[in-house]
Symmetry: C2
Subunit: 184 residues, 2 copies
DNA sequence: ATCTCCTGAGACATGGATGTCTCAGATGCT
DNA sequence: AGCATCTGAGACATCCATGTCTCAGGAGAT
């Protein structure tokens, strides 16, 4: 059952995004299963971590797909991306914190692909005159992801209301990334 | 010699901010000392981590002091804070990533104090009409710290030029945090 | 009801990082 | 030179998470 695996992975994210060194015991309990069953599903800790990372990247890629970031106005595209990404902010927080993941060449390559897509979005926006050109597309991409991860942490710790998260993220980031049009 | 301890801590930050689970061996080598000497300076891993955290918070507090965040125009104050904080961005990145630190009540209290100071700065700025009031001071503080940490990571990994870091951070964050004055 | 499959609980074994110790060599001071 | 101090290298002991195994009990199917 793929659902089973994924539900365990979801629970693992909830624990690992806060405490990356959490014991398998803790993760198993959070998933509502025993350590033995956890071992039956995933060969070991390393495999579990990698699977969580892979899930995060799949969701990230899916968000880029559903947002249709290559189409139309780039500001609207970024807003769609935020909408699609915020529900998985915790997963992004995990990806941001677990630098060790990127030792795996497969994971690393997947990440590079997605990151390049985001950079391309910002570059396109800069060419459209929508995003500021004084800030490099690489930095915009980096900062955007940092803020998404920040939303994930803040929501998990109860410092930010989930309902506010999309708005807060969009307003703050777009305010800094959009060119001043002086039209309002 | 306090310098000695601090130089070891600096080296530890360089390693730990990237890989929080780095072995003591690795940290000792990065500091140019042996594992034995590392143990002579710090009783154990836990103590080392806590000292690094304490150093980070001291630097953070010092940056708030030298920036004089309670005086004058809040935008200028925030710019001064960025200037003072960016050199220690790696330390902030460590503080952001090592959630486990906040299990220590002493560390946690120190953090709360500094965070409250930053929140107060944003609140004052909102009352002055400088910062946007649609975004809560708590979120502004959170996002600000996330971006500082992001700068730390990006610079360490060579994705952002140190010379650009202050400008990139200030422009992006202030763009999103400042009220639109429509005067330029 | 019987059989099968799966799970949870617990008991180990294992491995690796950590913590402690010793000792030889280097440095620095008198 | 002689002495004290500090350091690095290595050899252990220890601890703890991980990994593996067994076994009893429950769920579901026939």
């Amino acid at each position: 059952m793929a659902t089973d695996r994924d539900s365990v992975l979801e629970a693992a994210v909830g624990v690992l995004s806060r405490r990356p060194t959490a014991h398998l015991d803790e993760i198993a309990r959070a998933a509502g299963i025993s350590r033995a069953t956890l071992h039956r599903i995933f060969p070991g800790r390393e495999a579990l971590i990698r699977e969580v990372g892979a899930l995060g990247l799949r969701r990230f890629a899916a968000a880029l797909d559903t947002a249709g970031i290559d189409e139309g106005d780039t500001e609207a595209a970024l807003r769609r991306l935020i909408d699609a990404l915020v529900p998985d902010a915790a997963l992004c927080a995990f990806l941001a914190g677990e630098n060790q993941l990127y030792d795996d060449p497969e994971i690393n390559e997947l990440w590079e692909i997605q990151d390049a897509r985001v950079r391309a979005l910002f570059l396109r926006g800069q060419q459209q005159g929508v995003f500021r050109i004084e800030l490099s597309a690489g930095w915009l991409s980096e900062a955007f992801f940092d803020l998404v991860a920040g939303v994930g942490w803040a929501v998990q710790d109860g410092r930010l209301a989930p309902r506010d998260s999309t708005y807060s993220l969009a307003e703050l980031f777009l305010g800094g990334a959009l060119r001043r049009t002086d039209k309002s």
